[in-house]
């Protein structure tokens, strides 16, 4: 509970300064892909170092979160993803860590957070940033049953909360994200980690 208190809804999200500089990795919130975008063949590693191709999950809607231990908002978002996964609402919930030092680093973070439902998945070689075009973390890709990206959420969200439900419903029902109300970006408060 303490950690949740650390997250506040960015009520002032609209008041946040927009990135002024072209190329600054500053875009945040829901970015629908219209039309849905086929994704390149990517894979990550499980805790034992075995390759897990993303195509493994074809046929099911997938929420693919990309995080790292050095990214404080990513770490703050993980418990909500863990609770979402525990609920098993017909969506495959994947959280892939980009921790450069791999399983030891990422596994340590999951244990510290008491995250038990999410599987430890890794991309220590940082191949996903290029392949999936990720300028910033956390980024969560919403992937339909055909393995296409229907959109992405840049920044942290309370994925287990009521405000994320419309996006998750659309994903589950195979709809596009056009006109779907997005959850707000959550922002860390308190001292720098």
């Amino acid at each position: 509970m303490k950690r949740r208190a650390f997250l506040t809804l960015a009520a002032a999200a609209a008041a946040l300064p927009r990135p002024l500089l072209a190329g600054a990795p500053g875009r945040q919130g829901l970015v629908p892909a219209e039309p849905p975008r086929p994704l390149p063949a990517v894979e990550f590693k499980d805790a034992e170092g075995r390759a897990v191709p993303l195509s493994t999950f074809k046929g099911k809607p997938v929420l693919l979160n990309v995080w790292a231990s050095y990214c404080a908002p990513c770490v703050a978002e993980l418990p909500a993803l863990d609770r979402l996964k525990a609920r098993d609402g017909g969506i495959v919930v994947l959280a892939v860590s980009l921790d450069p030092l791999g399983a030891k680093q990422a596994g340590g973070t999951l244990r510290r957070l008491d995250v038990t439902h999410l599987d430890l998945l890794l991309d220590p070689g940082f191949t996903l940033t290029g392949a999936l075009a990720l300028p910033s973390l956390p980024t969560t890709l919403l992937i339909d049953r055909e393995g296409r990206e229907i959109g992405r959420f840049i920044g942290a969200a309370a994925w287990d909360g009521p405000e994320a439900a419309p996006v998750l419903d659309a994903l589950r029902q195979g709809r596009t994200l056009a006109g779907v109300t997005a959850p707000p970006v959550v922002r860390l408060t308190g001292p720098a980690p």
Partner: protein, 197 residues
């Protein structure tokens, strides 16, 4: 005075308008051409508190990026991309120094950088300094940044916008290339490979 604005401008006014237009065009043109003029010179403090310059890493290739570590909402991926590229290079990565230069020296102290960069392995060097030193370094790399005013009552809570990208500097510290921030680790490694001995 109001009426004069409806009259056709005097030759003097026309000339000054022309000069203003010329100045504006020059202003617009300069950043585009200056983009290539990266001198790569800096005088900063490393994360152990040692004063360093571009000559401190003589003989080594450098991968450099500018940014700040305090990211309350989203964090850039460029440092991880650099770490990933070095992993892919294996032993040859010893010829490359990965360097992170903060544009937020107020919060990114040497001690904080040392702690933060730990997550990327022992090779990473963090550079900071006074606001002036950091500003000079940013100018030498044509990096632009804007420190936004802090939130009300929270002097340490502010956002910094900065231009992204990863620089490859040669063994003498001269500019070789600027890679877009969306480049994958594998692509960065490919760009470095021909430069390795």
């Amino acid at each position: 005075m109001r009426e004069t604005t409806t009259e056709s401008p005097s030759p003097a006014m026309r000339a000054s308008a022309f000069l203003m237009l010329l100045a504006l065009l020059l202003l617009l043109a300069v950043p585009a051409t200056a983009q290539t003029a990266v001198t790569g010179r800096f005088r900063l403090d490393d994360h152990d508190g040692h004063r360093v310059t571009q000559d401190s890493y003589a003989g080594k290739l450098r991968l450099m990026t500018f940014g700040y570590t305090y990211c309350p909402d989203i964090c850039p991926t460029s440092l991880g991309t650099m770490a990933g590229a070095l992993t892919l290079l294996g032993d040859a990565a010893a010829q490359v120094v990965p360097i992170f230069v903060t544009v937020d020296p107020q919060r990114d102290t040497a001690a904080h950088l040392k702690d933060y960069l730990d997550a990327f392995g022992p090779r990473f060097v963090g550079l900071t300094g006074t606001a002036r030193m950091v500003d000079d370094a940013a100018k030498a790399f044509r990096v632009r940044y804007v420190i936004h005013p802090p939130a009300a009552g929270e002097p340490d809570s502010y956002v910094v916008d900065h231009s992204a990208g990863i620089y490859i500097m040669d063994r003498d510290g001269a500019f070789l290339a600027k890679l877009p921030h969306l480049m994958g680790a594998d692509e960065v490694a490919e760009r470095l490979r021909p430069l390795l001995k």
